[in-house]
């Protein structure tokens, strides 16, 4: 039985003001937020289309997804703020040369990572084209926008360099975080809480969606083991299996593949253009 559907088909089947309940994974929220994500336009179009048909939409996710998303937002915000600081420092000296050089080191690391991502994508396309596959039709999931932002270890290196000579208190980095990160993180979290409800069997609001009172957490391990999917994705599928919510909105191949075997009563909703790829792999 096919338990996946494309965006276009899903929207076509919807009735005006029909109630829609969707479980989201972190990639969907990230793609919606990040204009550099290759699915940014696709996701925005989908939600724009959905909004035109019905306002009766409820979004759900897990607390793990929330953590994943806020971690991505932390890295993105710090990266953009550091790059801006570096740019301003060129015309008005604000930071020491030690900090400037450390930022340059990490920019080089990041740029190398981006270059490798692009090369990986180009190589993959060449391999497919050599096999006479028309890559203009295919949706290649190679490029990770994660490469655009400083890794945690790179942020740590910059943070360490902020310690100015003979200064006892770490006011520099603390001031930077206070202005550029703190309030934004709080506001962002608040908006995320408004956007999605976090499914938990302990919550009064969530209770009405649960089939059983208690979630069997060990089933997430079972799901992870069945197809080798990431554990946080396994937790999403496991959560979905314990609820009456039918549809999981995802951009992740692992979730569509895993859902075919481990969440057969659920519908995996994914971009229409991806379905062709999945049909090759999941013949049914």
């Amino acid at each position: 039985m096919v338990n996946r559907i494309g965006f276009r088909e899903f929207l076509k089947k919807l009735q005006k003001e029909q109630e829609v309940q969707l479980i989201l994974d972190a990639n969907v929220i990230i793609a919606y937020r990040d204009k550099n994500h290759k699915d940014h336009d696709t996701i925005r179009e989908f939600f724009g289309g959905l909004n035109k048909i019905t306002k009766n939409v409820s979004l759900f996710t897990s607390v793990t997804t929330k953590a994943e998303f806020l971690e991505y937002y932390r890295r993105k915000t710090i990266t953009e703020a550091i790059l801006q600081l570096y740019k301003i420092n060129k015309t008005q000296k604000i930071i020491s040369d030690t900090v400037k050089q450390e930022i340059e080191n990490q920019i080089r690391n990041r740029n190398l990572r981006q270059k490798r991502e692009v090369e990986k994508q180009v190589q993959f396309e060449k391999v497919l084209e050599s096999q006479s596959v028309d890559t203009t039709e295919m949706d290649i999931e190679g490029f990770s926008i994660d490469a655009n932002y400083f890794k945690d270890s790179e942020i740590k290196s910059i943070k360490k360099s902020f310690r100015a000579r003979n200064v006892q208190e770490e006011k520099g980095w603390l001031a930077f975080c206070s202005v550029m990160l703190m309030e934004r993180m709080h506001s962002y979290e608040k908006l995320l809480d408004e956007l999605c409800h976090y499914l938990t069997s302990r919550d009064d609001v969530s209770q009405k969606y649960f089939i059983k009172k208690d979630v069997e957490w060990r089933m997430a391990t079972q799901i992870c083991g069945e197809t080798g999917m990431g554990y946080s994705d396994a937790m999403i599928l496991n959560m979905a299996n314990h609820t009456t919510i039918e549809t999981i909105l995802t951009l992740d191949f692992d979730l569509v593949y895993g859902g075919h075997f481990s969440a057969m009563t659920k519908v995996l909703l994914t971009p229409t253009d991806r379905l062709k790829n999945y049909k090759i792999i999941l013949r049914d």
Binding site: G48, L50, L59, K93, I94, A164, V167, G172, F176
Partner: protein, 74 residues
């Protein structure tokens, strides 16, 4: 369950993504790094003087007369 539309919430999120280093933060950091920046500027000035000093040592070099096949005296 969601009273505001997804589109409206996302628009609020868009506003949060405008990153700007404030003048206040720039002043705080400049003040924080003041001693180190001054020390670095001093070091750079010294290095520049030393570099100029080496150049000066060649100013009095005797130039040989090329027409007579004489090379420069170092």
């Amino acid at each position: 369950m969601n009273r505001r539309s997804i589109i409206d919430i996302m628009e609020d999120m868009d506003r949060l993504e405008e990153i700007e280093i404030t003048d206040e933060l720039a002043d705080t950091l400049r003040d924080y790094f003041k001693e180190e920046i001054e020390s670095e500027d001093l070091e750079n000035d010294e290095n520049e003087k030393v570099a100029k000093g080496f150049d000066d040592s060649f100013i009095n070099t005797d130039k040989g007369n090329a027409e007579n096949g004489e090379s420069d005296r170092v």
